[in-house]
Symmetry: C2
Subunit: 189 residues, 2 copies
């Protein structure tokens, strides 16, 4: 890491606070335990809504500055009403967003000013799985590809290493590539 002036925000990141936060967690590792949540309500057919509002972390409950609403539906070609992205598109968005947020922090920490960063995510999926037409076909994506374009005040290889480090420290990339145990229960009350 380049020794750099951390006294002012870079790329919108308050770098001194970022480093202070990491130091605080280093000295008190229990602060790193977080729990994120989403609440879902069925609307009609494949259309449903969600709210993201509270989470636990750094030793206490938190409420987001506003309750964020999200929405999903299937497109008409899949017999939905196309009122919102499909859940499978939300998954791709989560991946691209996680890599992008990480890259913003990492660039600031390395003293690299970013000019413009874009990315495209695409996922291939054969719906023979979901539709129950071929047990040999999985339900989910067979492959996902992410391509970044990064412009900033550094050499191309330094900019490329920002993407590599974002990948290496991405929560969503880890879950999607390595898998996470999920329990699905039905409340009887």
């Amino acid at each position: 890491m380049t020794v750099t002036d951390t006294s002012s925000p870079r790329n919108g990141v308050d770098v001194s606070t970022l480093f202070a936060t990491i130091d605080a967690v280093r000295s008190q590792p229990a602060l790193a335990k977080f729990q994120f949540r989403s609440d879902h309500t069925w609307v009609s057919g494949t259309h449903n809504r969600g709210v993201v509002s509270g989470f636990y972390g750094a030793g206490q409950e938190h409420t987001h500055m506003q309750a964020f609403e999200l929405e999903a539906d299937h497109p008409t070609v899949l017999v939905g009403n196309d009122r919102a992205p499909t859940p499978a598109e939300h998954l791709l968005y989560a991946l691209g967003a996680c890599l992008m947020s990480g890259l913003g922090n990492i660039a600031a920490a390395r003293g690299i000013d970013l000019d413009e960063v874009t990315a495209t995510v695409e996922g291939d999926i054969d719906l023979l799985g979901i539709l129950g037409l071929d047990d040999g076909v999985r339900n989910g994506y067979s492959q996902i590809r992410v391509v970044f374009h990064v412009k900033g005040d550094a050499q191309a290889d330094q900019l490329a290493r920002l993407v590599e480090q974002a990948r290496a420290r991405s929560a969503v990339y880890d879950v999607i590539t390595n898998g996470t145990a999920v329990t699905v229960d039905v409340a009887t009350a």
Copy 2:
């Protein structure tokens, strides 16, 4: 599956079109090949935006009825500006939404009228991984829990089986529990 009247929409699902779609794909499996996409733009710090607009499927390109915009940020406790859900929360939302959309279709196909369906998703994550403070801690969620509440015109065990079938045919559940290969590249042009 119960033999049922498919002549009118149930739970907002056009069941006859749903079955006709499945039949069409059965006779022409190449129609099942889809590609979903998201486009991402960095805004500032951990704040970034995405657009979901076009996708490929059923043998042709499609455009959603509108370009759907999504947004992500980190909360202030993680040195962001809390302008939107975190990417890790978007991931939970994608999971709950996928199960919920599937449940809507499955209930209609089984002739069960739904009254109210809600779900909560929560994920445990230890940020010692992301922060680079403990190589023994993974970056992503260690565990995710989903709990459904389902009210409808069927016995409790029939309602519970809707959730089980939604899980068994969920694209996002499959990706999160089994993992999917992801490539992350940097365009040089």
